[in-house]
C-alpha cells in the first residue's frame, strides 16, 4: 500500500489530550474525532451489554427450576403452603411489580430491549465501525464528524430514557411492544412510554450513523481505492448503513403511533377501536427484521477480516462476499412476514416463506467462501482467529436452524418457542457477539496501543464458547419438545435442560469476566503494540498504534487489494513473524 516512511515527525496519538482531568473530559465530550467517538461508543455499548447481560443472567436464574406451590400437611398436622422456585420474588417490591411473574416479565423485556436497541444494533457499526471505517478507507474522518458526535449524544440520551424507565420499575411488554398488550399494560405509569421513546430516540442515532457511513464510503475512499478494493468489513458496514437509513424511519413512525396509542388511544393498533394489532406487527417487523441484518452484517465483515488476516490468505470469492452483503441487505426488506406466520393470512404466509428462503442463499455463499479461505492458508491460532472459527461454528448452527423456521409446516410448531430463542441467540450472540469479540481482540492493539495477554484472552474465549453452547444448544430441544418462550414457569420435564442452560450462562459470565480482566490488565500493564501485530494489509495497519490525530501522516494511496497476501509484503513487516511468500510474483 502506501509507503509509510519511518522518518516522519513523531505524531501524537489520538488520545493524547491536554493535561488536566477536566480539560481532558471536555476534549472527549466535545470531540469530533471519529476514533474518540468510536471509543466512547465502545464504552457506552459495553456498559449496556453489561446491563443486558445481568438481566439475562437473572432470567436464567429464575428458570433454574420450575415454580412449585405446594400445599401439604406438616408434622404437626397443619396445612401449610409454600412456594419454591420463584427465585426473583425478592425483587417484587423493589421493582413495584404485582408478583414474581411480573418481575420475570420485566427482566426478560429489559434483556431484550437493552440488548437489541442499546447494545447489538450500535455495537459493531458504531464502535468498531466508527473507529475503523475512515481509517480503512484512508480518510481523515467520517463525512460528517459533528453529526457523528450528535448521534453519540442521541444514543446516550436514548439509553438514559431506557435506564430511567428501568429505574422506575421497568416494563413488561416484551422488547417487541406487541399491541394490544403494550398499550394496556401498566396503565398506571409512564415507564412504557419512556421505553418506547428510548427506542424511538435510539433510532435517530442509528439513522444518523448510517447516513454518515454511506456518504463516507461513497465520498471519502483514498485515492486508488475502488469499490472492490475496499476491505470486506467496509462492505459489511456499508450494507448495514443502507438498512439503517431505510428501515429505521418506519420503526420511528411505528413507535410514535404506539406512544400516541398509549397516551390517547388513537386506535390504529387497538382492536377495541377498529385498529388492527397485526398491522402493528407488520410495521414493527418491517424495521426489526432488516435490523437483524444490521446486527449480523458488520459481524460478517469482521469475520472476513479475521479469517483473511490470520490465515494470511486472500479471501476466497471477494466479490461474492461483497455482493452477498448487498444481497442480504436488499432481501432483508422482503422477509419480515416470517415473524408473523401464526397471525397472518395463508397466502401472505406462503409468499413470505418463499422470500425468507432467499436470505439463506447469500448467507450460505458467505460461509462457503470463508471456509474456502482457510484452504492452503497459514493459519495462526490466536484469540481473534479463534473467535472467527467460533463464529463459523455457531453462526452455521444459527443459520441452519433457521431453515425449519422458514419452512411453514415446521414453523407452526416452532414459532414462539425456545427453538426460536436458541436460533436467535445462535445468530445474534453466536454470530454478532462472537464477531464483535473477535474484532475487539483483533483491533485492540490498534485502538489502545497495548497488547493483551494471549493466555488470558484464550481462556476467556474457550469459556465463552463452552458456556454459550451449553446455554443455548439445550434450548433447541426445549423448543421442539414444547417449551414456549417468555415463560416464567415451566413443566417439570424441562427442568434438566433448563438447568444445563442456566449453568452454561454462568460459564458464559465467567468467560466474559476473564475477557474483562484481560482487557483491564492490558490497558494498565500491556506491552506496547507494534503498528501491525498481525501482518494485516488493510490501511489501518499502516498507521501508528494507536493512530495519530488525523489517522495518517500522509494521505495513503492504495496500490493493492486488501487481501493480496501472496503479492505484497505487509507494512511494518517483521521477517521473524512473517516469512515471505515463496513466489511473490506468481499472481
Amino acid at each position: 500500500m502506501s509507503s509509510t516512511d519511518h522518518a516522519h515527525h513523531e505524531g501524537e496519538s489520538y488520545f493524547d489530550g491536554p493535561p488536566g482531568v477536566l480539560s481532558k473530559v471536555w476534549q472527549w465530550m466535545s470531540t469530533v474525532d471519529h476514533k474518540k467517538i468510536g471509543v466512547m461508543y465502545l464504552v457506552a455499548v459495553l456498559f449496556m451489554f453489561f446491563l443486558g447481560g445481568v438481566s439475562a443472567l437473572a432470567v436464567r436464574y429464575e428458570l433454574l427450576d420450575p415454580v412449585r406451590t405446594v400445599e401439604t400437611m406438616n408434622e404437626a398436622g397443619e396445612m401449610i403452603q409454600y412456594t419454591t422456585g420463584e427465585r426473583l420474588a425478592g425483587l417484587t417490591n423493589i421493582m413495584g411489580a404485582k408478583n414474581a411473574n411480573e418481575v420475570y416479565n420485566r427482566i426478560f423485556t429489559l434483556h431484550g430491549a437493552i440488548m437489541v436497541f442499546m447494545f447489538i444494533i450500535p455495537s459493531i457499526p458504531a464502535s468498531l465501525g466508527n473507529f475503523f471505517l475512515p481509517i480503512m478507507l484512508g480518510a481523515k474522518d467520517v463525512a460528517f464528524p459533528r453529526l457523528n458526535l450528535l448521534s453519540w449524544y442521541i444514543y446516550v440520551i436514548g439509553c438514559l430514557f431506557g435506564v430511567f424507565s428501568i429505574l422506575l420499575g421497568g416494563v413488561d411488554t416484551g422488547w417487541t411492544f406487541y399491541t394490544p398488550y403494550s398499550t394496556t399494560t401498566d396503565a398506571d405509569h409512564w415507564r412504557v412510554v419512556l421505553m418506547i421513546l428510548a427506542a424511538f430516540i435510539l433510532g435517530f442515532s442509528s439513522i444518523l450513523t448510517g447516513m454518515n457511513f454511506v456518504v463516507t464510503v461513497h465520498k471519502l475512499r483514498a485515492p486508488g481505492m475502488g469499490w472492490f478494493d475496499m476491505p470486506l468489513f467496509i462492505w459489511g458496514v456499508y450494507a448495514t448503513a443502507i438498512i439503517q437509513v431505510l428501515a429505521t424511519p418506519v420503526v420511528g413512525i411505528t413507535l410514535l403511533l404506539l406512544v400516541f396509542e398509549r397516551v390517547m388511544h388513537i386506535g390504529i393498533f387497538d382492536p377495541s377501536m377498529g385498529g388492527d394489532p397485526v398491522l402493528y406487527q407488520h410495521f414493527f417487523w418491517f424495521y426489526s427484521h432488516p435490523v437483524v441484518y444490521v446486527m449480523i452484517l458488520p459481524g460478517m465483515g469482521i469475520v472476513s477480516e479475521l479469517l483473511a488476516v490470520h490465515s494470511r490468505k486472500h479471501i476466497f470469492g471477494y466479490r461474492a462476499i461483497a455482493f452477498s452483503s448487498l444481497g442480504i441487505a436488499a432481501v432483508s426488506f422482503l422477509v419480515w412476514g416470517h415473524h408473523i406466520f401464526t397471525a397472518m393470512g395463508e397466502l401472505a404466509a406462503v409468499l413470505f416463506s418463499g422470500l425468507t428462503f432467499l436470505v439463506a442463499i447469500p448467507t450460505a455463499i458467505k460461509v462457503f467462501n470463508w471456509i474456502a479461505t482457510l484452504y492452503k492458508g497459514s493459519i495462526a491460532i490466536n484469540t481473534p482467529m479463534l473467535y472467527g472459527l467460533i463464529f463459523l461454528f455457531t453462526f452455521s448452527i444459527g443459520g441452519l436452524t433457521g431453515l425449519p423456521l422458514a419452512t411453514l409446516a415446521t414453523d407452526l410448531h416452532l414459532h414462539d418457542t425456545y427453538y426460536v430463542v436458541a436460533h436467535f441467540h445462535y445468530t445474534m450472540m453466536g454470530g454478532t457477539v462472537m464477531a464483535f469479540m473477535g474484532g475487539l481482540h483483533h483491533w485492540w492493539p490498534k485502538m489502545f496501543g497495548k497488547m493483551y495477554s494471549e493466555k488470558g484472552a484464550m481462556t476467556g474465549t474457550v469459556l465463552v464458547f463452552i458456556g454459550f453452547n451449553l446455554t443455548f444448544f439445550t434450548q433447541f430441544f426445549l423448543g421442539t419438545q414444547g417449551m414456549p418462550r417468555r415463560y416464567a414457569n415451566y413443566v417439570d420435564e424441562f427442568q434438566t435442560l433448563h438447568m444445563i442452560s442456566t449453568y452454561g450462562s454462568w460459564i458464559l459470565l465467567l468467560g466474559f469476566l476473564v475477557h474483562l480482566g484481560t482487557f483491564i490488565v492490558s490497558l494498565i500493564a500491556g506491552d506496547k503494540a507494534p503498528p501491525n501485530p498481525w501482518g494485516g494489509l488493510t490501511l489501518e495497519w499502516e498507521t501508528e498504534s494507536p493512530p495519530i490525530e488525523h489517522n495518517f501522516h500522509h494521505e495513503p494511496i492504495v496500490t493493492h487489494g486488501p487481501y493480496d497476501f501472496d503479492k505484497v509484503v505487509p507494512p511494518h513487516w517483521d521477517p521473524k513473524d512473517y516469512p515471505l511468500p515463496e513466489n511473490p510474483s506468481s499472481h
Binding site: 412449585r68 406451590t69 405446594v70 401439604t72 404485582k98 411480573e102 416479565n105 413488561d172 416484551g174 406487541y178 394490544p180 398488550y181 394496556t184 399494560t185 382492536p271 394489532p277 490465515s311 490468505k313 476466497f316 471477494y318 461474492a320 401464526t342 397471525a343 395463508e346 416463506s353 418463499g354 428462503f357 442463499i361 450460505a364 455463499i365 471456509i371 484452504y375 492458508g377 493459519i379 495462526a380 491460532i381 436452524t401 431453515l403 425449519p404 422458514a406 419452512t407 411453514l408 409446516a409 415446521t410 407452526l412 414459532h415 421442539t480 419438545q481 414444547g482 414456549p484 417468555r486 416464567a488 414457569n489 415451566y490 413443566v491 417439570d492 497476501f565 516469512p579 511468500p581 515463496e582
Partner: protein, 395 residues
C-alpha cells in the same frame, strides 16, 4: 397424577431426543418428518463444513518460517455450484413446507368445529351443542419429586392455582378450531399436534387437526368420577406473550373414545345446581386471577375477610365505595371497568356475550356461598350479624 407426558418409546433416537414423542396427528408426523429431513440435511452440511474447517486449521496451521502457498482467490464453477445446491434444496423445503402448512390449516369438510375463546389468562372451548367443559384436572407444574420433598403421602395434595380446564375431544376425528381473543393476543399451541395459531382480539383465526386413535396403554384419570378411563392427555400452552400469568395459561386436551365424549357433552349441556355450575366456571375461567381462600391475586379474592367478599363494602379506586351485592358482581362480570376496586389495576376482560344468564347466576351464587354473609346460608340471622360486626371492626 396424570400430567400429560411428552415422552414415549419406540422412536428413532434423535427424533425422540428432539421431539420427545411422535406427533399426534398425521399432519404432525408429516411435519416432524420434514423437520428431521431438514435437520439431517443441515447436519450433513454442518459436519462437512466444520470438518473442512478443522482439517484446514490443522493441516495449514502456521509453522514458523513456512509461508502460505499461493492459492486461487476465486473459482467460478465451485461458486456457482454452492449457490445452486442450496437454492435447489431450499426450493424443495419451501414446497414441502407449504404442503405441510396446508395439512395443518385446512380442515376436512366433516370436521367438528370447536370455538376457542382466550383471555388473560384462560382458555375456554365451546362445543357444537353450546356446552363448555366444566372439568378441571389437577394438572400441575409440580411433580412427584416435589411431593416427596414435601414429605407428603397424600396423592391428592392440592396445589394452589394448578388446576387447569380439561377439554375433551373424541378420538380419530377431524377437529377445526375457530378462535378469538377477548383482550390481548394469545396463541393456542398444542405441541403434540405440532401447530399453533395466534388468537387475536378482532378477528377469527384457526387451524385443524385430526385426533389420534387411542392406544391400548392410553389411560387417564377422570376427575369427575375418580376413575381411570381410556384417554390421552395433551398440553395446551399459550405461546404468545400475554402478561403476568402467561406461563400458567395452560389447559389439557383430552382425547377420549367417542362414547365418553358424547356422554360428557350431554352431561354438560344439562342443568345443574347453580353453585356447582358457578364453581366449575370458577375453576375453568376465574381461578387464575381470583382466589377463594383470601390469597391476593391479580383480582380481588372472592372469600370474605379483610373487607373482601360478598356483602361487604368495596372501596373503589375512584374514592367511592359500593356494596358487593348481586348487581355489583353482575356488573363486574359484564363490564369490569365500571367499578374497579381500589388497589387493583383494571385488567379484566368483559364477559358480555360470553356467559349465559344461567352461568352468571351460577357464578354469583358461588360467590355468595363463599361469603360469611351468604344470604342463602341456613344459619340464623344472628350469626350473620355477628360476622358483620366482627368484619366491620376489623375493617
Amino acid at each position: 397424577m396424570n400430567t400429560p407426558t411428552l415422552a414415549s418409546a419406540n422412536m428413532p433416537f434423535f427424533q425422540k431426543m428432539i421431539f420427545g414423542d411422535h406427533g399426534a396427528s398425521e399432519a404432525a408426523a408429516w411435519s416432524d418428518g420434514l423437520f428431521m429431513m431438514i435437520t439431517w440435511f443441515s447436519a450433513f452440511f454442518f459436519v462437512l463444513l466444520m470438518g473442512l474447517m478443522v482439517a484446514f486449521v490443522i493441516i495449514y496451521r502456521r509453522r514458523p518460517g513456512v509461508p502460505a502457498k499461493p492459492s486461487p482467490s476465486h473459482n467460478l464453477n465451485i461458486e456457482i455450484l454452492w449457490t445452486v445446491i442450496p437454492s435447489a434444496s431450499m426450493l424443495v423445503m419451501f414446497v414441502l413446507g407449504v404442503r405441510g402448512y396446508a395439512m395443518k390449516m385446512v380442515a376436512p369438510d366433516a370436521a367438528m368445529e370447536l370455538k376457542v375463546d382466550a383471555w388473560k389468562w384462560a382458555w375456554k372451548v365451546t362445543y357444537p351443542n353450546g356446552a363448555s367443559s366444566p372439568e378441571t384436572n389437577f394438572l400441575s407444574f409440580e411433580s412427584n419429586m416435589a411431593q416427596l420433598e414435601a414429605g407428603s403421602t397424600d396423592p391428592w395434595m392440592e396445589t394452589k392455582g394448578l388446576e387447569y380446564p380439561v377439554f375433551y375431544v373424541p378420538e380419530d376425528t377431524a377437529v377445526s378450531l375457530r378462535m378469538n381473543s377477548q383482550d390481548v393476543i394469545h396463541s393456542f399451541w398444542i405441541p403434540e399436534f405440532r401447530t399453533k395459531m395466534d388468537v387475536i382480539p378482532n378477528r377469527y383465526t384457526g387451524y385443524a387437526f385430526h385426533t389420534p386413535k387411542l392406544r391400548d396403554s392410553d389411560s387417564v384419570l377422570d376427575t369427575s368420577s375418580m376413575m381411570q378411563i381410556p384417554g390421552r392427555d395433551m398440553w395446551i400452552f399459550c405461546a404468545e406473550y400475554c402478561g403476568d400469568e402467561h406461563s400458567r395459561m395452560a389447559a389439557t386436551l383430552r382425547v377420549v373414545p367417542q362414547e365418553t365424549y358424547d356422554a360428557k357433552i350431554k352431561e354438560w349441556g344439562q342443568d345443574k345446581d347453580p353453585v356447582v355450575l358457578g364453581e366449575s366456571l370458577y375453576k375453568t375461567m376465574c381461578k387464575i386471577c381470583h382466589s377463594v381462600d383470601g390469597t391476593p391475586g391479580t383480582g380481588p379474592t372472592w372469600s370474605s375477610g379483610n373487607g373482601f367478599g360478598f356483602g361487604y363494602e368495596a372501596a373503589l379506586a375512584n374514592g367511592q365505595s359500593v356494596m358487593r351485592d348481586d348487581n355489583y358482581y353482575r356488573e363486574s362480570i359484564l363490564d369490569p371497568n365500571a367499578k374497579v376496586v381500589s388497589g387493583f389495576v383494571p385488567s379484566m376482560p368483559a364477559f358480555q356475550g360470553q356467559l349465559s344468564e344461567d352461568e352468571i347466576h351460577g357464578l354469583i351464587m358461588y360467590i355468595q356461598s363463599l361469603s360469611d354473609r351468604n344470604p342463602n346460608a341456613s344459619e340464623s340471622g344472628e350469626d350473620n350479624q355477628q360476622a358483620d360486626d366482627s368484619a366491620g371492626s376489623e375493617g
